[in-house]
Amino acid sequence: MSAFNAIDDEREIDREEFTPALEPQPTWCPGCGDFGVLKALKQAMPEVGRTPEETLLVTGIGCSGKLNSYFESYGFHTIHGRSLPIARAAKLANPGLEVVAAGGDGDGYGIGGNHFMHTARENHDMTYIVFNNEIFGLTKGQTSPTSPMGHKSKTQPHGSAKQPLRPLSMALNSGASYIARTAAVNPNQAKQILQEAMEHDGFAHVDFLTQCPTWNKDAKQYVPYIDINESDDYDFDNTNREEAAEMMFETENKLHEGEVLTGRYYVDSDRPSYQQEKQNIGEMPDEPLAERYFDEDYEWERSYDMFLDKHA
C-alpha cells in the first residue's frame, strides 16, 4: 500500500483527463510533429491504466519541452539536457509512479548525451521519448546532432560536415532494453509503441520522428513510412541483438536517403531494471524511498552506535 493515495487507483480512465484545463490548446506551429506525440501519449495512457495523478512527465528544453503544459499530470519542465537524471531518480524514489521523460534530439542526443548513455546502461524502468526533428526548432533552425551531412542551416551555411548521430544504435550499444522508432505521421503505431514502452520493465527509448515544417523540410518530411515489423521486405528478430543492430544501421542510413523506416527494433524483456538489480544485491530497500516519514507516528531507531563502530 503506497503512502500516496493516487497510486494504483483502480478506476476508469478517459483520455480527456490528460487535457489540462489551463492550457488545452498547444501553441506549436501548424503541422508540427509534436502534436502527434501529445495525441499518442494521451491515447496510450488509458491503455496503460495510469491516471494523471500517478504519472510524472519530465521534460527538457526545446519545443518538445512544452509537452508538460499541454498534458495533465505531475510535470517537471527542467533544464536543457537534464531530464533523464531527474526522471530516473524520481522513479527510483517512488516506483509506483509512471515516469516518462521527453525532449528533443538536441536535448537528448547532444547536451544530455552522457545521461542518455548512462540511463540506458543502467536500464532504469522508465520511458524516454525523443522528439527527433533533426533540427533546433525553438532557437529557429540550427543544425542538430541528427541533422544529415550536407544539411544547410544558419549555423552551417555550407552544409553540415558532421556525420549525424545514430540514435537507435546508440541506445542499443548503451544498453536500452526497449528501442523503437515511430513517426508523428503514423498515429496508430505511435500510440501502440508508447503503450508498449510504458509497459516495458526497463529503459524504453522511443525515437519519435516529429516533422518541423517551419525550420526543416515540410509536414510530409516523414511520409511515406514503412513499419519494419509488418513489411514483408524486412525480416529480422527484434529480440536478437545482432539482428537488431543491423536493422538499426540500415534504418539510420535509409532515413537520409529519404526512406522512413519505423517499428520496434529491440526488445529485451528479461533484463532486470536498475531497481531490481539493486534490490537483488541488497542495496535498495523494498519500500519506496519517498514516503511520508514526517508523520508523527513514524519512528525509527537512531542511536550513535548504529551509525558508528566505537573507536571507528
Binding site: S2, A6, G75, H77, P85, A89, H118, M284, W300
Partner: protein
C-alpha cells in the same frame, strides 16, 4: 611536560603511512584518550612525501600545533620536512639498517632511536609489518600500554585471519622490547595515561553522512571526488538500513539532478562534492530554487581553482556558494565549524531545505573532512535530532490550496513565502513546475506583475527564515575584549586554542566563529564596537572579510593562509599578535 603529545609517521606515498597512523589513533581512542589527526602533504621539496600526525591528550584536542614529540621517519626527508616542528628532546624512530637510512642525520639535541624495523618484522612473520614494529617502539617511548594497540590491530587485520593478528601483535612487542633493551634512555617525559572514557573516532565527511541518515535522508547521489568521497562511502552500505539508497552518478551534472528528481518525488535527498564538481552543479542551482524543491548540496572545499591542489586545504568557495549561478538565487549557506558540527549542521540543512523549499549549501572543508577526531557519544545525541518536513499537503488538506477550478497551487503566494508541496501520486495535486518564471499554478508566465510577485515570494522565504531561525555565531574568549577575531569553517578549533595561548600571554581576545554564511548574523555592532577586528580564513582574497566589511561598513584586518595547509593553533596566536602589533605601530 605539556598535556598533549604529538606524534607522526612519515614516508613516501605507498608506505602504508595512513593505515599505520589510523591504527595508532584508534589505539589511543580505545585507551580513552582524545585524538586529533591531520594528514600532512605539505611539501617544501618536490616529490612524494606524506605524513599522518596525531595529537593526543586526556582532554579534548581541536587542532594541530607546530610541535612534534615523537616521529617515525621512514625517510630522511620526513625528518627534513619536520625540522621546524621537532624540538630538543624529540624522539626520532628510524630503521638504521635500511641502506637509505644509514647516514641519517639526527639534529642536535634530539634523540635518534635506530630500530631494525624491517628485520624485526621479518622475524615476526613478514617485512610488511615494519610500521607496526615502529608503533611498538613508539608505545615504549610514550609509556603507552601496548595492549591498547592489540585491539586496534585486531580490528584492522581480523578479516585476514587470526594468525596475521597475532603476528602483528608480536611485531609490535618486538619493537617495544628492542627499545627497552637497547636504549638506556629515560622516556618518562612522556606518559600516555589511559582513561575509562568511551570515545568515537570519526572525520567530517563521516559526520556529514551520519547527520544525513539521522535527518532521514533517503537518497544520495554523488560522483567520486577528493575530499568529499568519504561522505558517499560512509553512506554506502549503511543508508539502506534506514530505507535509503546511494547512487554513483555518471558525472556531477547528473548527481545534482538525480538528487533533485528524488526530492521532487518526496524523498529527503542530497549530493556532496568538491570545487570542480560544484562548478558543474551550478547549472542546476537556479532550477532547484525556482521550482522550490528542497535540496542539500555539500561542498567539501579543497584548493582551487581548476584542479588546484586536490588534497590540500582551502576555503575558497565561499563566493561560489553565495553567488554561484546566473540570475538571483535565494539560498541558505551553512558552514560547519567542527567535525561534530558537520553532523548537526547537516541535520539543520535538511530541515531548512524542507521548511523553506530552497537549496541549502553545506560548506565544509578538507581540513575537517580528513581529520579523524574523538568525541564522546553524547556529542551525537540522536534524541535531540528533530525532523521538520515543512509544508507538505496530502489528499485530505489539498483542497485548501487549489483554485476554484480545482487546480493545485505549488507556488501559492503566501505571507511568509512558503507554499504547499504535493508529492506526485497525491490526488488533487497534479501540477507542473518549471525553471521558467511561473504563476501560482506553476504555469510559465511573462506577466510583469506575476514576475515580481514570484521573485518577491521566493526571497520572502529567506526573510522569514532570517526572522524565525537562530543564526547566532559561536562565542569564545573574553566577551569584553576590544579585540574581535572572526572566522568561519574549520579554523574554529585552532582559534579556540590560539585564544587560550594569547590569554596565557596576557592578551584577551573575543572570538566569534560564524557557522551561518547566509543568512548570517548581523555583527555590525560587534565589529564597530571593537578596536581591532581580525578576520581569519584559508583563502587569499578574504572572501568572508569582504562580506563582513560590507555588512558593517568598516574595514577589517585579515589573516589569510592559502599554502594548502590548515591553520595551527600556535601559529595563529603569533599571527594575531603580529597583526595587533602592526596596528599599534601604525
Amino acid at each position: 611536560m605539556p598535556a598533549d603529545f604529538n606524534w607522526a609517521i612519515g614516508g613516501e606515498a605507498g608506505d602504508g603511512i595512513d593505515s599505520t597512523g589510523k591504527i595508532f589513533a584508534q589505539a589511543l581512542s580505545r585507551a580513552g584518550r582524545h585524538v586529533f589527526t591531520s594528514k600532512d602533504f605539505a611539501s617544501r621539496i618536490r616529490g612524494g612525501y606524506t605524513a599522518y600526525k596525531v595529537r593526543t591528550s586526556v582532554d579534548q584536542v581541536q587542532s594541530v600545533v607546530d610541535r612534534l614529540d615523537v616521529l617515525i621517519a621512514l625517510t630522511q626527508r620526513t625528518i627534513d620536512e619536520n625540522l621546524d616542528e621537532l624540538h630538543e628532546g624529540s624522539v626520532i624512530i628510524y630503521d638504521g639498517e635500511r641502506t637509505q637510512m644509514q647516514d641519517v642525520e639526527i639534529p642536535d639535541g634530539m634523540v635518534g632511536l635506530s630500530v631494525p624495523l624491517k628485520r624485526l618484522a621479518e622475524d615476526a612473520g613478514g617485512a610488511i609489518m615494519a610500521n607496526v614494529v615502529a608503533l611498538g617502539a613508539a608505545c615504549e617511548v610514550g609509556s603507552f600500554p601496548i595492549e591498547n594497540l592489540d585491539s586496534a590491530l585486531e580490528k584492522r587485520f581480523k578479516s585476514k585471519g587470526q594468525q596475521l593478528v597475532e603476528n602483528n601483535m608480536e611485531a609490535a612487542r618486538a619493537g617495544q622490547d628492542y627499545v627497552k633493551e637497547e636504549y638506556d634512555h629515560d622516556f618518562d617525559d612522556y606518559d600516555l595515561e589511559t582513561t575509562d572514557e568511551d570515545y568515537v573516532l570519526l572525520n567530517g565527511d563521516e559526520a556529514i553522512g551520519m547527520g544525513a541518515i539521522a535527518a532521514g535522508c533517503r537518497y544520495y547521489a554523488g560522483y567520486p571526488i577528493t575530499p568529499a568521497t568519504d561522505v558517499m562511502q560512509y553512506l554506502t552500505g549503511r543508508i539502506e538500513n534506514w530505507g535509503g539508497h546511494v547512487v554513483q552518478a555518471e558525472d556531477e551534472l547528473s548527481a545534482i539532478n538525480l538528487a533533485l528528481g528524488a526530492a521532487r518525488a518526496g524523498a529527503r535527498s542530497m549530493t556532496a562534492t568538491s570545487g570542480p564538481g560544484i562548478d558543474l552543479m551550478t547549472e542546476t542551482f537556479g532550477l532547484v530554487a525556482t521550482s522550490e524543491t528542497p535540496l542539500v548540496i555539500a561542498d567539501v572545499m579543497r584548493s582551487g581553482p581548476s584542479t588546484g591542489m586536490p588534497t590540500k586545504q582551502e576555503q575558497g568557495d565561499l563566493n561560489m556558494a553565495l553567488y554561484g549561478g546566473h540570475g538571483e538565487i535565494p539560498r541558505f549557506v551553512l558552514a560547519p565549524t567542527t567535525v561534530s558540527e558537520c553532523f548537526w549542521k547537516t541535520v539543520e540543512a535538511f530541515n531548512l531545505a524542507e521548511k523553506y523549499q530552497t537549496p541549502v549549501f553545506l560548506l565544509a572543508d578538507l581540513a575537517m573532512a580528513v581529520t579523524e577526531q574523538t568525541f564522546s557519544p553524547e556529542a551525537f545525541d540522536m534524541d535531540a535530532v528533530e525532523i521538520d518536513r515543512g509544508f507538505v499537503v496530502d489528499e485530505n488538506d489539498i483542497g485548501e490550496h487549489q483554485t476554484e477550478k480545482g487546480q493545485f497551487k505549488p507556488h501559492e503566494l503566501t505571507e511568509d513565502g512558503v507554499s504547499p508541496r504535493a508529492f506526485p501520486g497525491t490526488d488533487g495535486g497534479a501540477h507542473m513546475s518549471t525553471g521558467l518564471e511561473h504563476d501560482e499554478m506553476g504555469r510559465r508566465t511573462e506577466d510583469t506583475d506575476m514576475r515580481i510577485e514570484q521573485v518577491d515570494k521566493r526571497n520572502r522565504k529567506v526573510e522569514t527564515a532570517t526572522e524565525r531561525e537562530d543564526w547566532s555565531p559561536r562565542e569564545f574568549g573574553d566577551p569584553d575584549s576590544d579585540t574581535l577575531v572572526l572566522s568561519w569553517g574549520s579554523n574554529e578549533g585552532a582559534l579556540v586554542e590560539a585564544v587560550r595561548f594569547l590569554e596565557e600571554d596576557g592578551i584577551d581576545v573575543r572570538f566569534l566563529s560564524v557557522p551561518y554564511i547566509f543568512p548570517r548574523p548581523d555583527l555590525s555592532e560587534e565589529i564597530n564596537d571593537a578596536d581591532d577586528v581580525i578576520v581569519v580564513e584559508c583563502n587569499q582574497t578574504g572572501q568572508f572579510a569582504d562580506v563582513l566589511e560590507h555588512d558593517a561598513l568598516r574595514r577589517v584586518k585579515r589573516v589569510n593562509k592559502y599554502n594548502g595547509v590548515r591553520f595551527k593553533a600556535d601559529e595563529l596566536a603569533d599571527d594575531i599578535k603580529e597583526t595587533l602589533a602592526a596596528e599599534a605601530e601604525a
